[in-house]
Symmetry: D4
Subunit: 217 residues, 8 copies
Amino acid sequence: GFAKIDQHRNLRTGYPEAIFCQGKTPEQVVAIVEKMMRSNTNIMATRASQETYELVKQMVPDAVYHEAARIIVIKRKELVVRDHYIAVVSAGTADIPVAEEAAVTAETIGNRVERIYDVGVAGIHRLFARLDLIRAANVIIVVAGMEGALASVVGGLVDKPVIAVPTSVGYGTSFGGISALLTMLNSCASGVGVVNIDNGFGAGYLASNINKLGYAE
Amino acid sequence: GFAKIDQHRNLRTGYPEAIFCQGKTPEQVVAIVEKMMRSNTNIMATRASQETYELVKQMVPDAVYHEAARIIVIKRKELVVRDHYIAVVSAGTADIPVAEEAAVTAETIGNRVERIYDVGVAGIHRLFARLDLIRAANVIIVVAGMEGALASVVGGLVDKPVIAVPTSVGYGTSFGGISALLTMLNSCASGVGVVNIDNGFGAGYLASNINKLGYAE
Amino acid sequence: GFAKIDQHRNLRTGYPEAIFCQGKTPEQVVAIVEKMMRSNTNIMATRASQETYELVKQMVPDAVYHEAARIIVIKRKELVVRDHYIAVVSAGTADIPVAEEAAVTAETIGNRVERIYDVGVAGIHRLFARLDLIRAANVIIVVAGMEGALASVVGGLVDKPVIAVPTSVGYGTSFGGISALLTMLNSCASGVGVVNIDNGFGAGYLASNINKLGYAE
Amino acid sequence: GFAKIDQHRNLRTGYPEAIFCQGKTPEQVVAIVEKMMRSNTNIMATRASQETYELVKQMVPDAVYHEAARIIVIKRKELVVRDHYIAVVSAGTADIPVAEEAAVTAETIGNRVERIYDVGVAGIHRLFARLDLIRAANVIIVVAGMEGALASVVGGLVDKPVIAVPTSVGYGTSFGGISALLTMLNSCASGVGVVNIDNGFGAGYLASNINKLGYAE
Amino acid sequence: GFAKIDQHRNLRTGYPEAIFCQGKTPEQVVAIVEKMMRSNTNIMATRASQETYELVKQMVPDAVYHEAARIIVIKRKELVVRDHYIAVVSAGTADIPVAEEAAVTAETIGNRVERIYDVGVAGIHRLFARLDLIRAANVIIVVAGMEGALASVVGGLVDKPVIAVPTSVGYGTSFGGISALLTMLNSCASGVGVVNIDNGFGAGYLASNINKLGYAE
Amino acid sequence: GFAKIDQHRNLRTGYPEAIFCQGKTPEQVVAIVEKMMRSNTNIMATRASQETYELVKQMVPDAVYHEAARIIVIKRKELVVRDHYIAVVSAGTADIPVAEEAAVTAETIGNRVERIYDVGVAGIHRLFARLDLIRAANVIIVVAGMEGALASVVGGLVDKPVIAVPTSVGYGTSFGGISALLTMLNSCASGVGVVNIDNGFGAGYLASNINKLGYAE
Amino acid sequence: GFAKIDQHRNLRTGYPEAIFCQGKTPEQVVAIVEKMMRSNTNIMATRASQETYELVKQMVPDAVYHEAARIIVIKRKELVVRDHYIAVVSAGTADIPVAEEAAVTAETIGNRVERIYDVGVAGIHRLFARLDLIRAANVIIVVAGMEGALASVVGGLVDKPVIAVPTSVGYGTSFGGISALLTMLNSCASGVGVVNIDNGFGAGYLASNINKLGYAE
Amino acid sequence: GFAKIDQHRNLRTGYPEAIFCQGKTPEQVVAIVEKMMRSNTNIMATRASQETYELVKQMVPDAVYHEAARIIVIKRKELVVRDHYIAVVSAGTADIPVAEEAAVTAETIGNRVERIYDVGVAGIHRLFARLDLIRAANVIIVVAGMEGALASVVGGLVDKPVIAVPTSVGYGTSFGGISALLTMLNSCASGVGVVNIDNGFGAGYLASNINKLGYAE
Ligand SMILES: Nc1ncnc2c1ncn2[C@@H]1O[C@H](COP(=O)(O)O)[C@@H](O)[C@H]1O
Ligand SMILES: Nc1ncnc2c1ncn2[C@@H]1O[C@H](COP(=O)(O)O)[C@@H](O)[C@H]1O
Ligand SMILES: Nc1ncnc2c1ncn2[C@@H]1O[C@H](COP(=O)(O)O)[C@@H](O)[C@H]1O
Ligand SMILES: Nc1ncnc2c1ncn2[C@@H]1O[C@H](COP(=O)(O)O)[C@@H](O)[C@H]1O
Ligand SMILES: [Mg+2]
Ligand SMILES: [Mg+2]
Ligand SMILES: [Mg+2]
Ligand SMILES: [Mg+2]
Ligand SMILES: [Mg+2]
Ligand SMILES: [Mg+2]
Ligand SMILES: [Mg+2]
Ligand SMILES: [Mg+2]
C-alpha cells in the first residue's frame, strides 16, 4: 500500500535523524536517542540543554555538544563534504545562537559552511568587506533580529538563493521577531525565502537541500 | 568607487528586467518599457491589466500577454532552457493566477516548468496521482490559499527545496492570506521557504535561482 | 419560576461534574470536590497538578489521576459504554497531553475511545496506515499544533463529524496555537468544527454529545 | 493504488456536489455546473448572485434559487428526509443570510430544518419562548454577529451538539466577525464547535453529518 | 494662574487618594502613604501584596487589608453612605478578585454595594434568581472573563447604566481578556460602558460617580 | 412564564424604538417603521441615508432628518426635558457626525444637551475656554478620533461620569479607530467608560441612563 | 486666563495654516480657505484632489497645485530660505507622493529641500552614489514602503537626525505600511524618529522644526 | 574601498561607544568593555544590572552607575556642554526609568538636560506649572506609558521638535506599550517623532543629534 510513500527518508538521503528537544525532558530525549541508535543513521538533537547533553553523553560517550548552537551531534558514519559552501551571514551578537543552529545543522547534514557574523546594516562597511566570500557561496542564509534589514541588503547584492531567518532578538515593537519576519517577507530584493522565527534548523536544512542540487551533477 | 557593487545584474545574469505594474498607470508602464528597450534585455511586466497590455503592444507589437498570470513578456533574445524543471503545485482553482505568475516568471527567466494544479488536500488522492512528476523536479513551488495545508503535505513527501506561496484566497479568518502564510511558516515538514502572500513572481525568481544551481556544473 | 430552565443537567444526563483547576489552589479544588461529593455524581477535575491530586486523594482515596491528561477522576457510579467510538487523532508527541485531555474526558463521560497518536502530516504514511480505524469511528477529534494541517487532511478523508483542537505546541509564528487555529477554521475540507486552543476537555465533551446521538435510538 | 482513498464521496454519501461561487464569474460557474451535470448527483452553488442564477437557469430550467441564502440548487434525485431535525437559531435580522446558507445547505443534503430567527440576547425572552423547539433538535446551529453571546447562552441551555457560526455583522471592534468568533471559541458553555466567519455552508454540512448519525441506526 | 484648574480634587470630592501598587516595591508604597498621611484624606492602595500590607501596617496600625480585592484601606474620616447601591455582578469564581477590586473601591469611596457573584451564562437560571436585586440598583458593574457574554445578557435585562469589566480569566483565544473586552464593546444591548481589562478600580470609581448623581438632589 | 422578563422596555421607559439602518435597504427600514407605528412610541432610525429619509417621509410626513447625525426622528408624544444636561465634547471637524449621533440620540430620549465641538488637544486653550460649561454637566460624552487624547484630558478635569467614544477618523496607524479606543481604555484619568468605535448612539443612550438618575429623585 | 497658552502659533512662527482635505468635500475646503484668507498667513491644503484645487483656484487665482504632493499652496508673504537643507530620500517610484508631501510641506514652511529619490536598498549602489549630498543635510527624511530597510541603512551612514516615514506601498504582509513602520521603529541604527504611515506632512513639519534650529543662532 | 564609508563615527563625533546589555551576561559585557577601553572613547552600557556594574567596576574603578537609568558610564575624556538643553518630560512614576535612560544618554553624549517628571495629563495643572522651562528647550523628549496622551498635549504647546517615547507601563489593553505608541504616532499635534517602546537610549541619542544642530553655528 503506502510503503511507496514512506521511503525511509533518512536512510535514503543520508540525512541525520533530528530530535527537537524544546519541551522534552532530558530523559525523554535520551529515550528517543536510544531508539534511533538501533538503526545506523547520524543523529542530531536541537534546542538541547547542557543538562540533556550530559545525560546523552552517559549513554553515547562520543556525542558532541555544539554549545552556541545548542545541538548535540552523534556521528555514526562519515559524510562526503564538497567544496561548494553555504554562507551563514548574521547581524548582531545576539543572533549568533540562531546562526549557529543553522550552520551546525548544515554541517551535520554534510555541507561546508562559511560564517560571516556581526555584519548588521548599522555599520554596513563590515558587510561590504566580506562581500566576495558571500557572493561565492551556493546559497546564503541571512540571520537577523530587530528590523531584519540585512536580508534585503544581502538579497540586493547577490544572485544566489537567499534563506532569511528572522530572530526573536529585540524588544518593544520587535514583537519577538515579527518585525524582522515582515521585513524579510516584504524584501524589495527578489529571491528571498523565509522560515519561521528562530528556525535555524529549518534554514540549514533547506539550504542543504539547495546546496546539494548545486553539485548533484 | 561603487561600480564594483553595481554589476549590471540583468546583463550579467541574462535575467529579464521586471516591472511591477500594480499602482502604476498604463502610461507609466509604457514609459518604463520604452526606457528599458534601449538596452538589449528581455522584459517582463507583472500584475499587468489587459488595458496596460494593449498600450504596450502598440509600441512593441510582439509583446505577449499571459492572461492568467497577468504578465506581459517582451522577448529580445532567446534563453537556453535545460531539462531540469520546476514543479508548480497548486491547491484550488482560485489559486491559479498566483501559480501562473510563478510559472510564467520562471519560464521567462529560462526554466522548464511543470504545472500540477487543483490538487488541494481536501481530495488528497489527486496529489498522490501526480507525485512522481513532483518528486522528479529540482525545486517545487507550492501555491495555496485558505489554510495552506498543501505545503506541509508536499514538504513531507519530497526531498527537494520547496518554495511555499500563500495566496489571499479565502474569506473570514483566512485574513487575506495570513492563515496560509502562518501554516507555511510553521510547516512541520522541514525544508520549506516562504514568500509574501500572492508573491508568485518572487517564488518563480527564487526557484529559478535554485534550479539553475542544479545544472550549473 | 426558573426551575424550568435549571434542569440539573448533570443528574439528568449522567455527565460528571467538572472542575477546571487552572488558577485554583489545591485547597480550593478540594473544597469544591467536597461540596460535589454531597450529590451522587461522578467528578472530574481537569488541568490538575500532581500536588492537587495528592490532596484530593487524602479525602477521596479511590480518586484516579490520569497523569498525561492531567485529569483527576472520581467515579461514584458506573456508566454504560457502547461499541460506537470516538477516534482521537494527534500529530506530534507534544500534542499528547491535549489529546489525552480529550480522550479521558470522553471516556469519563462514558464513551469508548480509540487513540491514533503521532500521525502528523510530515510523514503522512503513518496516517494512512491507521485510516480504517479512523473511518469507522462515529466522531473524530483531531489534535494538532504548529500548522495544524492534520485536521484538513483527516477532514478530507472521512465522512463523519470532525472536531479539531489546535494546540499551543510550536514556537515563533505558531503564536501559541493561533496558526493551528486558523488552519482549522479555514479547513478546505467541509465538516470540521473547532474548539479553543488546548481545549481537549471541550472537544471530548462535544464529541461525546455527538457520539451519544449515534446510538440514542 | 489510491482508488482506495478516493471513494467518490458524493456518490457514496448521497451528498450534493458543491460549488463556491465567490470569486468566480457566472460563466465559470455555468461551465462547472455543466461538467457536474454529466454525473447524476444533486448540485448546489453557494454565494451565487442573481446574475449567476439567471445564466444557470438558461441551461438548467428547473434550477431553484434560494435568494436569502444565495444558493442555487439543482435537484436530480430525491433524498429521504427523516423527522430528526437541525435547529438553526440566529440573533439579528442581518445574520439571516448566513443562517439561511446553513439551513438551505442542510436541507439540500437531506435534513429537516427548524428556523428560530431574531432571538438575540438583547431581548432574551424571545429565546426562552422558543426553547422547547430548540431543545428537541438533534443538533443546533447558532448564528450570531456583533458579540456573538447567543452561542454561549444557547450552549448553556441544551444537551445537544452546538455548531456556532460567527457572522461579519457589526462595525468597529466587531472586526468583521472576529469578536463573535472569539466569543464562540471561549464559550463558557461546553460542547460548542465553531466554524469560519460567515461559513453557513460549513455549519450546515457538519450539522448534517451529526444529524445523520442520530438516525443511522 | 492654574490654581483654577487644580482644585484639589480629593479634598473637594471626599474621594480617597489612590495608590497603584503594581510595579512599586513595598518600600515605595510606604513612602507614598507616609506623604499622603500629612493631609487628612482617606487612602486606598490597589494591587497591594500581603507583604506590602505588612509594611504599611507597621506605620499605620489600623490599615485594613481586603485580601480578595488586594486593596489596603486607611480610613481617616467617616463617609456618609446612602441606601442607593451599586450591584457588582460577576461570572465565575476566577473573576472574584476583579469584582472585589470594584466593590471595595466603591465602598471605600462611600457607596453601598451589593455582590451577585458566580452567575455566568453557562447556568443562566442563577442570574434570573437574583434579577430583582440587580434591577433595583442605581448602577450595575458586570465582571466577566472568557467570552464575557454576561455583560450583554445583563445589559438586555436592566434599564440602568451598566459598567462592564473584562477580566484576563481564560486561556488560548481569550487572549488575556481581549475576547471578553470585544464582547463588551460590541454588546448588542445598549447602555454599556467598558473599562480596561481587570480594571476593577476604574469601574468602581466610575460607578461611584454615577451612583452619587442618583442621590445628589 | 417569561412575561416577567419581557417588560416592554420602551413603553415603560418612554425611550424611543431605535432602528439601525446600516446594511438595510430603504425599503426594509420603511417596513420596520411601519410596524413600529402601530404602537404609540417615538421612533429613531440611526445611520440613515438621505434616500432612506425620503422614503420614510412619504409614509410619515412629519419625520425629521438630522443630517449631520444621520438620524431620522419620528416624534409621537412629547418628552419632559429637565435642566440637567449632557455635555458632548468633540475633538475635530471630522468627529462631528459621531458627536451628533450621540447628541441627537440623547435629545430624542429626552435630555438637554450642550455641544462643545472642535476642542482637540492640539490647541488645548480651546478646551479650557469651555471648561465651566463642561464641568456643570451631569455626564460628559467625549468624542475623538486619531489618538483620542481628549478623553484623558477631560477625564482629568471633571468629577462627573465620562463616556468616551473613539471615532474611525484618522489614517495609517489610527487603524480605523483602534488607536483612539486603546487610549480611552487606558486613560490615566479614572472614571471613563468606553463604547464601540463610532458608537455615538450607544454613548447617547448610556449618558441618558446616567443623566436621568441625576434627577430621578 | 489662557491667552498665555494660545499664542497664535502660526502668526508667531511664520508657519502656514494647514488644512487636511482627506474626508472633506471641495466645498468644505473652500469655506475653510476663505476663512483663513482673512488673516495674513500662508495657507497649504494637503491630500487635495485636482477637483478641490479647481474650486480653490476660482476663489484664489494664484493658488498653486503641487500635483505629485497633492498639496495646494497659497503664498501671501515671502519666507526667507537659508542654505541649510533637508534631504528627502525615498526608496521606490510608488513612494514619491509621500516624499513629495514631505518635501513640499518643508518648502512651504520656508526650507531648502534636496530630493534623492529611487535609491531603495535592492540596488544599494544608487544610494552610495548620492551619499555626499545626503550627509551634508541638516536633517534627513527617509520615505520607504514594503520592508522600509532604507531607513536603517541611511541611519547607519549619517550623523544627523533622521525622520523615517513608512508608506503604505506594498501588498500582502506589508499590511498597508505596518511592515515598514516596524522596521523603522526597530532600526538598529540609532537616531531615527518615526511618524505615522504616509505622513509626509508630519515629517516635513518636524524636519523643518529641526532644520530651523540649525541656523537659529 | 569602503574606508570612505566607515568613518570611525565615535572618534569623529565624540559620541561614546554604547553597549546594550539586555540579553548579555555580565562577563560578556566586561569583555566588550575591555576591548573598547583600548581606544580612547567614552563608554556607556545601557540596560545594565547592578551585578554587571559590580563586575565592570572591578576592571574600571571609576565607572559610574546611574541606577534609575540602569546605565554604566565610563568617562575617559571631558565633553564641552553648552547652555542649550534638552527637556525630558515624563508622565508617571513608573515611566522614570525610561526617562532617565533618555536623560543620562543625552548627558553622556554631552548635552545639558532638564528633567520635568510626573506631569501626566490626569492632573494637567502640573504640566502647565512647568511650561516655561519646557518651551525654552531646544528639543523635548516626552516619555509616557498607558495611553501616552502627554505627547499630544506637549506637542500642541511647543514649537520645537518633540521626540516621543512610549513606555511599557500599564496593563491589559496597554499591550506592553502599544497603546502609547499608537497615540504618539497618531498625535493630532504636528512635529512629533516616535521611537521604539521603552527606547530611552534612542530618544536621547536623536535629541542629542538635534540639540547639537542648534548650536553648531
Ligand atoms: N530547531 C528546530 N526547529 C524546527 N524544527 C525542528 C528543529 N529541530 C528539529 N526539527 C524538526 O522536528 C522533527 C522532530 O520532532 P520531534 O519528533 O518532536 O522530535 C525533526 O524531524 C525536524 O523536522
Ligand atoms: N459557502 C461556502 N463556504 C465554505 N466552503 C464552501 C462553501 N461553498 C462550497 N464550499 C466548499 O468549496 C468546495 C468547492 O470549491 P470550488 O471547487 O472552489 O468551487 C466544496 O466542495 C465545498 O467543500
Ligand atoms: N487598580 C487600578 N487600576 C487602574 N488605575 C488605578 C488603580 N489603582 C489606582 N489607580 C489610579 O492610579 C493613580 C495612582 O497612580 P500612582 O501615582 O502611579 O500610584 C490613582 O490616582 C488612580 O487614578
Ligand atoms: N497630510 C497630513 N497628515 C497629517 N496631519 C495633517 C496633514 N495635513 C494637515 N495636517 C494637520 O491637520 C491640521 C488641520 O486639520 P483640519 O482642521 O482637520 O483641517 C493641521 O493643523 C495639521 O496639523
Ligand atoms: Mg555588534
Ligand atoms: Mg476545486
Ligand atoms: Mg514525532
Ligand atoms: Mg432585531
Ligand atoms: Mg462557577
Ligand atoms: Mg480643526
Ligand atoms: Mg524603482
Ligand atoms: Mg503619580
